[in-house]
Subunit: 340 residues, 2 copies
Amino acid sequence: MLKKKEKYVVAVVGATGAVGNEMIKTLEQRKFPVETLRLFASERSEGKKLEYKDTEITVEKLNEKSFEGIDIALFSAGAERSKIWAPVAAKSGCVVVDNSSQWRMDPEIPLVVPEVNPHDLKWHKGIIANPNCSTIQMVVVLKPIHDAVKIKRVVVTTFQAVSGTGQKAIDELLQQTTDLLNFRDVKCNVYPHQIAFNVLPHIDKFLENGYTKEEMKMVNETKKIMGDDSIKVTATTVRVPVFRGHSESLNIETEKKISPNEVRALLSTAPGIIVYDAPEKNIYPLPLYAAGKDETYVGRIREDNTIENGINMWIVSDNLRKGAALNAVQIAEKLIEMAE
Amino acid sequence: MLKKKEKYVVAVVGATGAVGNEMIKTLEQRKFPVETLRLFASERSEGKKLEYKDTEITVEKLNEKSFEGIDIALFSAGAERSKIWAPVAAKSGCVVVDNSSQWRMDPEIPLVVPEVNPHDLKWHKGIIANPNCSTIQMVVVLKPIHDAVKIKRVVVTTFQAVSGTGQKAIDELLQQTTDLLNFRDVKCNVYPHQIAFNVLPHIDKFLENGYTKEEMKMVNETKKIMGDDSIKVTATTVRVPVFRGHSESLNIETEKKISPNEVRALLSTAPGIIVYDAPEKNIYPLPLYAAGKDETYVGRIREDNTIENGINMWIVSDNLRKGAALNAVQIAEKLIEMAE
């Protein structure tokens, strides 16, 4: 458990990646009580310097003693590295907030979205899992609706930005687009097919049941975060040529009736949400505008009258912020709030 | 009714647009029995020359006598022009296949997808409506499933290419992308927001019920084409920065159980469909590859076990071909087959 202090020694593991970078920025922007910031990455990036506030911090390589003296470590270095290093960090007395998929479904490890299940932070044993980006923005919106009218089933289709894959995917979309506009051949290194001017119904690996891992994350993580196994989710996750901001088309079936106006009223007072819903004025959530913002934007709220109690909506959030870095930092902030 | 002939005098109205252009190409590619091809467009394009086979054809302006001697007219000139000119053409004894939304829901006018309801061509009175692009590819796939196990409900989210809006939208996506890569400001003329590296949950106008016209077309046209008002459809239609090829994420609830393998077997022998479904080899439908093809590609077929009888799938087709020009030409071919 975290001890109450004025300021904390914080580490970012995977500091040179797209999410790691955003974590550093988020700590600074939110004036996180940082005593010292330490940055870790793979051997390749050792010695590289990254900016935090007005200083330059040198990226270090991890070793068995790296976590000594560190209070909070934000990990975004992939499942393989988390599997090895998060327990090492936790053993050193550091609290780990891990952005990889490694620990998310471990029953011994809480999976937390601060707006939804902050209470689950109470039983952590040194590691807390940060959910999948596409799940986080969805549960932020589902939670108030579930509390009000109980959600039975969600059919979700996502439109996910390339930054969810990491910096190399951002580079690939840019490079492919530039090559196409210059009549050069396109190279595909990160994705199995061209992503520029295309959409790929393929995120993460395919499983035996025909779903991708990403789709099953949305199904399983939702139940764990919401603390309710009865919520049924079926997902189709799709990569789109957008740099930043995941969009989701949600079809929600509830137990009790709720009107679109009631949904708007409910969500407009809920934490972390901005209702952005005036289609007659061309106002609806867009990844382009949600990029760099903290909130999840909700719009296109309308009744689905093909079922008794149905609502359609369109939600957008910045996958690197609320979908990753911001949620991790918010977890750390909650831990500080709860520290004694 | 069309009279049996060796060859026909054919007109394309709206010949200079994206669909009109594709109609000319399709007539040529499919070796349509053309005696003479006449091309019409708005005043602005009068005198312009377009290629058909190895000849150049001069674009004419429409007048009251334009349709004299024409057997078949393929219209793709917008609802307003169809409203005025399709009845004029029909009165001249010409059979009109109209690609606009003008006549689609008129109970006196058949709305036809040749793979689904060719029988409806029997009762036409001079005008036949070509359905909306996003509806056509969906019903081609729904039809065999409906015949086998009856479809109760469909939740669909679309990923629609800019060419569905027309040539000026193709130009806008290209221009915005080029401007962004050159650090120039982006101009939005066709869409209310930037489409490059963005997605817009907005196709056609918004209606009072919060849905767009495009979404309601998918709901209403599906019932009419399938000849079954009991099929419930709820839709979210989204524009994506893709030049050509509409993709759709379908969640289908059927009355009787059908397994993914049975769906694959069923669809692989159905007309106009290619089952393209081997995700472990990264084989699934993509707009990039469907562009320029005639068929609707179906993949990512998997069971949705959140309901008793549920199937998810991902379908892609070329919106300018099967979604517009090809379907219109196929209707004309059927009319010839039925001519006496």
